[in-house]
Symmetry: T
Subunit: 141 residues, 12 copies
């Protein structure tokens, strides 16, 4: 099983942002936790601040991977284009948000990308990725 | 570790509702899956169609359990009173929705109870409960 | 043929509420009129102020009755949970409102339960129940 | 007793429109059913696609008829002018919709003409007219 | 000087509608008052319940008249088509409403036809027409 | 007959503001026109930029005058307090706007003071005051 | 004089909720303060998390009590059914909120139950109940 | 191949309306251009200011023509009835707007009739009709 | 203890306004009732129709008084400036409305000044002031 | 004549997306059809998922091409930046949408880029591009 | 060069309000800083809590000053009358807000006065005035 | 002191866009003016049409510069991702808009990036950058 994990804008800065919402972990640390919790060689990690590059990755996901985990960051709330890319991608898809978006600013309450995934998790910090991998495993089975 | 799992209105009818959103599993079947996946004796299951009884259960959760998993069903979108009960309950709390609520009718997009939990999952059918237990375990640790 | 007639919150007070909207009949009087207009032994009457108890009744309707007439009262405008219960109940269903809800306060214009019934009547006072029985008869045939 | 039955725009095409909402009956067939269910000689049927002609008919209803049944079709949702005509017409008035308008597109949820009638029925297809006649009879009595 | 006075839907029923808003005068009475207050032979009166016929009249106004007074009735609040007709008509134009529309139902607060006239009066009952003639006279001068 | 004419904020600057909306006349010129068109000694003119002073004047109008003409300027769209003052003042009241407010910015479309007057005129520039005097005369009669 | 004091959902938890909004007093303490400030034997206290039970109590208030004090908690913002029950209850009614609801989340700004009471107080913590008793006394007199 | 071209209200005045939006061509001129660009004998032109007459024409289109081109003018933004007529008409349908409606007043941005056509063009002035004929030809093939 | 009681626009007219909302008492009468119910010499009364003067008074309240009771009248719904003044004033503050604002026009439902007070009362007519004094006393203690 | 055809995000996936909206053609196939219908050497095709690259292309269009055809895909509904780029580009511009956007999800009804083009077509699938070339030809002439 | 600096309601209290938004400086201190940073004799300072007095000052600005700096305080968000006064005043105008209004309550996000100035600054505390003087200097040149 | 100046989409086209809003200056000219007004060697200029590249630059700003001036162009109104990047960047930040955005289209009134800066200026054309440098200097001190 091969899983692609896409992280969107500003997630490369994790650990520098406000702790109440995101905790202190860096993105590299999260990747290590994921790899140690599961197997090392099934994950590909991709991070970009660029909407177009994220779409490129989603478009290529179906033929190369068995599952897709995506945290679109700020693009969750604004990008019809990422939504459309997810709609076409035929593989198990899980959306993850580190913070509980329903408890933050109004404009973060609604994800316009989530409806095009199998489901989404919000608020579990780095543990959300672990649960997402767990769920991808369950969906693939 | 002791976990209380509360299911709200109409979830006792699972298996009779539209399959595209909820799959064919009954609530009893889901409870069995949860117990077999984890340990048998840590779970207490409660289902009610009654808003007040659900609030009563939430109020008693903190002193008797280590974690709370709740699927408030239709009350997620209308009950300020359940929201207030969750706010006071000081234990790990996870909200679960069987279907992907962001992909359904407009009035289901927003959960007013979710902001008062640690986080929520939506769209993973019965697997959502399994992941919720997994996450409670991680939070408690 | 067996028909269940559910009346929601405050309908037990009929006759005490403002006459311009509801007329002077009591609920008991309405039940007598229905029974005398049709046959005596086909009706079961249920009234409750409790959202959960109404859901319980709706859940049990399909296996015990040939038709369901419901006046959800104030819950028509707020209860996603009753809506969900009606959606699952597979029997002829008619919603009745004593007053013409389109002519009252804004928040009464929209019934969120009505879309899950075969149809609804609004504004015909106690005669609405008679017509509802008439229509259930037509639908069942 | 004399009853005027007004059908608005596109109701002359009944039977050609989407079956899920309107069933297969033609308007002529409905008129026959009404006449056979009740007495033959009390009904006058009028259909027009023209808002102004419908207003003309409503204006003349009170002095020539004992009751008015109207299905304003698409004009229900847009015509303040028909609403005003109904307000002035002093006779029993019932609004009928073949489909359950609360279950269709948002812009059909609200009828701006219904508040000026005694009451309205929605969702009972051709049976709605029969019940409307039944109700006019009850109101007149 | 020749003035066309157009009255829209239901204004032919004046005197039958609710007195608090419209007073007891009939349309014929108003026409007589106008003719006696000013000169008899300068006015042409037109009333129709039909949006299209009203547009036809507006289109012909500029070449045959020196001024246009219009009470579009219920069409004031819904007719983009009458608005467009008024926009093209190059002659002095005054809109009149018998009742004070700002003090009635919300959907009557806004006239979408008024912006395409020189100005409008609302609330002065039959006297509004007299003032409108007075103002047309002032504008023409 | 004695008439009080109140002009609100910035109307003292008439003639300096944008000509497309207000024409070139000064407030003094308008007052002269009014006095020459009617009788000289029946008018009292009051202008203020101050909401409180305008309320003071309205409160004193009923006992000292037979009619009130008011152009509340920008306060038309924001002042609940002036609205309340007008509601209590028991004398004929006419609101005047120089420009056609329905054809300007959205926030000028709605006057919250107009519902508490007998009626209002909008768009007739200085002629609006003349027509207002004419209408007060008609109402008083 | 006999007064019924109804407290809605989660008010039994008072003292456990966030102190900035509600202070540290328990519901029992508040009841003691009320009884000591006034007379001991005139008060009946009722608390429930259940919407239906609260409606039952309101329905029975008029025949058994001289005044009703209600804090509907979260149901203030969602319950049309409680509003309807209050509307029918013919006795002096005062609504109390411990916190200043106008200063909290948007969805708490509007109470849909308050319009059916004589008046309401918000923000005075336990003192609000004392003032409510004081006001009931004044209204009854 | 036979094509019906329906033009709605005020399009008979083309050439008189504001040039920035509509250019200087008259409707007759446009008809000539269409006929000379394609074949002379395949087109039937219909113009009416009357909503009902336009609906009549649409209802008859399917049995007499191979394609329908419609410019509903102001009715595009208000007529549910024309929308319903278009929905039933089973032939290739193209909606045309002379001006770019997305660049005009807010209330013109949305066409409620367009969703019931194969597609629509907006902003190409008389050339829009030529392209519509071209597209009908492509769809029919 | 010294208490400042500020009454806003039009409250000097009390007794002249509509009785259903405000009762028949004049402001002077209310002041007498307050003084007789409590002690004569602790109250300072201030009334103004002028927003700026009310702000001036609020600004001076903290250094001269132990408590502030304010009825901002129509300014409650529009004045950010009074809200800002209240925010800075560090003394016990109670807002009073004579009528039940939640039961009146929509634009009166929300007070933008109330969030900057300790709490507010609405609907108790002159008794609201008495209860406000009672509450100031409790807060100061 | 030289024409630039820009296709936005996910249009490179054409043929993989849902057939009801987009048909089965690939982007390459569409390009071939365009070239065979017209002349081979006048078209330059550009596709990108990247908002910034699309803006770069639009900025360079005016100096190198005689016409611009753009299908901004999901960016039509969100990109103020592409709108601004189109505003500056002084050459004939046509916006094309394969599906009828007025018949899809609400958030697709409004294109914020279309107002800055000469006009737009929506719903004609690949034929829309052909008509767009046809229209560019007409505009250039 | 002569510059008028107008400060609106509650700005005389600067230093007493919440420090997170406004810093600790008093208005007098700010005036001193401005005068020492630039020349002493070019500034006139005016502060008032009264909307009408601020309008009076703005009306007189053009003939007596070369530039106007205004901080309308709470009136920025509510005063159409100040907006109208600014529109007529023909001199360089800069609006200043001490705090970053886009980061505060929703009702402060929009200034309805700012569109009638050359430009505005928000968030720079007392330094905003200095930059405003700097900009007035640049505009005048 | 080192300052990074970021210009967003289409600002490289300055001088080609509509003069009423932006004046005739090119971006290069603006950069020269900034450098001549202040010191030559403290500024780094960056322009991109690409949202992702702008985020990259903001992320790197804090460690390399003492201040950040940003004109996000069209992204100000749509980019949650740029907002998030600004939130993390810990250095003095000033947002600049050439035109007065409060006076343009509705969708430009609100900047969602500005709340994450120290403050913003709008409407001063190229002078806005000069004042921004001036303000950065003041903030740093």
């Amino acid at each position: 099983m091969k899983i692609l994990i896409i992280n969107g804008p500003n997630l490369n800065l994790l650990g520098q942002r406000e702790k109440s919402n995101y905790g202190e972990l860096t993105l590299t640390k999260i990747e290590e936790i994921i790899k140690s919790e599961y197997r090392d060689d099934i994950f590909t990690f991709f991070q970009s601040n660029n909407e177009g590059e994220i779409i490129d990755q989603i478009q290529n996901a179906a033929k190369n991977y068995d599952g897709l985990i995506i945290n679109p960051g700020g693009y969750s709330h604004t990008s019809v284009a990422i939504r459309d890319a997810l709609e076409v991608a035929k593989l198990p898809k899980v959306e993850v948000h580190l913070s509980n978006i329903s408890a933050r600013e109004d404009f973060r309450h609604r994800s316009i990308t989530a409806p095009m995934t199998d489901g989404y998790l919000s608020g579990f910090k780095e543990k959300g990725y672990l649960a997402a991998v767990y769920l991808i495993g369950k969906i693939v089975k």
